[in-house]
Structure formats: structure tokens, C-alpha cells
């Protein structure tokens, strides 16, 4: 039975997914599906990002917020690093598909998080 915190983390991921799904190409997802280790690794990082987003929202002071943001920057870097490794290893056609999937997604996260966090906290 998941606890309340677990449910909120899943809720963050689900709401974010709904907000961005239209901007993604299925081909980009398929590429990651071919790389199980990378997929599991980035899923772990995404989950951590959800946890950090909740920590950031609850942070009692600036020092705590700064620490959480610092860690979020690193987790974001880790995700991008892993995806680039996958792109480097992928066949040329897959690279083009991944490029297409990434194009135009922009910084939707930054727009979505401030809207959804107050709604679920």
C-alpha cells in the first residue's frame, strides 16, 4: 500500500506526463525502450526529480531551497547525460528520430510544475 508521499510523487509524474505527451514523438520513446539499463536509470532520476520537486515546495528556508535546487540541477544533468549517451550509441536513423522527439519540447517542466504542485500539496 503506497503511502501519501508515494502517491504524491506518482501524481507529479502523471500530471507532468499529461501536460507534455502531445509534444513528444513516439519514435523517441522507442529508442529508449531499446536500452533497458538507460531507461531504468533515467526512470530512477525522474522519480528523484519528483521527490525533489515536493521537497522544494515544502522547503522551510532559502538554504534548504538552494540545496534542493542544486540537486535538481544535477539530476537534470544526469538525465540529459544519459540520453546523450544513448543517442551516441544509437543508429543514425534512431538519432534522427530522437532529435525529432526532443525538438520543441522546451522548458515545459518549468511551466507545469508551479501549476501542479500547489494543486496536490
Amino acid at each position: 500500500m503506497p503511502d501519501e508521499h508515494e502517491i504524491k510523487i506518482k501524481d507529479v509524474a502523471t500530471r507532468l506526463r499529461r501536460g507534455i505527451t502531445r509534444q513528444l514523438k513516439a519514435s523517441g520513446v522507442e529508442i529508449l525502450e531499446e536500452y533497458d539499463d538507460a531507461r531504468e536509470f533515467v526512470e530512477k532520476q525522474t522519480r528523484k526529480m519528483g521527490e525533489l520537486a515536493l521537497e522544494l515546495a515544502k522547503a522551510p528556508d532559502k538554504e534548504t531551497r538552494d540545496r534542493v535546487r542544486r540537486q535538481m540541477d544535477r539530476v537534470s544533468a544526469i538525465i540529459e547525460t544519459e540520453l546523450l549517451s544513448v543517442a551516441n550509441a544509437a543508429a543514425p536513423a534512431a538519432k534522427s528520430a530522437l532529435k525529432s522527439a526532443l525538438a520543441g519540447a522546451g522548458d515545459v517542466l518549468k511551466e507545469v510544475l508551479p501549476v501542479i504542485l500547489p494543486a496536490i500539496l
Binding site: T14, V42, T46, Q71, L84, N88, K95, S96, D107, L109
Partner: protein
């Protein structure tokens, strides 16, 4: 469950896209990969050098800034012919950096795990760049 997994992957893709443009090249190297590598080293190298200086290990204080500049510049200016040498240099840094991180009483377990993941993913990126050069 698969929908959730795909959603998580989709989120991951989104998170990774802040200004990320794949397949631009620098010499034989993918520019986005080199830029990412440089930024990761900007996280790791200064912290490594601070740890080393604080511990009184090998790196003299006067050399700290120079070493930091070299580490970061190497990634920024990296070219295809440099990648093996670069990998050798950073592969010496990473294990010691992780020793420092694990022994840092000010870092939470979550922060330590993040640093370990950052190092692991950076190593994989270097490997993928090197493999691409070889191919």
C-alpha cells in the same frame, strides 16, 4: 503500468531538452555531448579540488584554480584526438571524488547518491563519445 513507464520516459525526454540540440558536430565529436560533458565537469571538478585542498591531498592550493581551469577547458575544447587522453585523466579523478563525497558528513544520502549517479553517467557519456570516434 506501461503507460506510466512511457509517461516517465516522456517526462525524462522533456527534462533533458533545455536547449539541447543533438547531432551538431565539433570536429568529429557531437557538440551537445561535449557541452554536456563540460557542464558536468563544472559540477565535479571544482568540488573535487575543494575536497582535495581541504584534505591536504596532492593538490597544492596554488594549483587548485589552474587545475580547475584545465579540467573544465579540456571538456570545452575537446576534440576527437583528445578523447582517450581526456578519459584517462578524468578516470583518475572520479574514484577519488567519490571517496570524498561518501565521506562528506554534510551531504545527505540522497545527495551522495546523486553525485555517484552523476559520475556514472558522465563516464558512460565519455565512453559513448570515444566509441563514436572509433566507429
Amino acid at each position: 503500468m506501461r503507460t506510466l513507464a512511457l509517461g516517465i520516459v516522456a517526462l525524462v525526454v522533456l527534462l533533458a531538452t533545455s536547449g539541447c540540440t543533438l547531432l551538431r558536430s565539433k570536429g568529429n565529436l557531437d557538440k551537445a555531448s561535449v557541452d554536456r560533458l563540460s557542464q558536468n565537469l563544472e559540477f565535479i571538478a571544482p568540488a573535487y579540488l575543494d575536497y582535495a585542498a581541504a584534505a591536504g591531498d596532492d593538490v597544492a592550493p596554488a594549483d587548485v584554480k589552474a587545475a580547475r581551469d584545465v579540467l573544465v577547458k579540456m571538456a570545452k575544447d575537446l576534440d576527437a584526438g583528445d578523447i582517450a587522453d581526456y578519459r584517462e585523466k578524468v578516470s583518475k579523478i572520479f574514484p577519488k571524488y567519490l571517496v570524498y563525497v561518501r565521506g562528506d558528513p554534510l551531504l545527505s544520502d540522497s545527495e551522495k547518491e546523486t553525485e555517484e549517479d552523476l559520475v556514472a553517467s558522465t563516464k558512460r557519456l565519455i565512453d559513448s563519445i570515444e566509441k563514436r570516434v572509433e566507429d
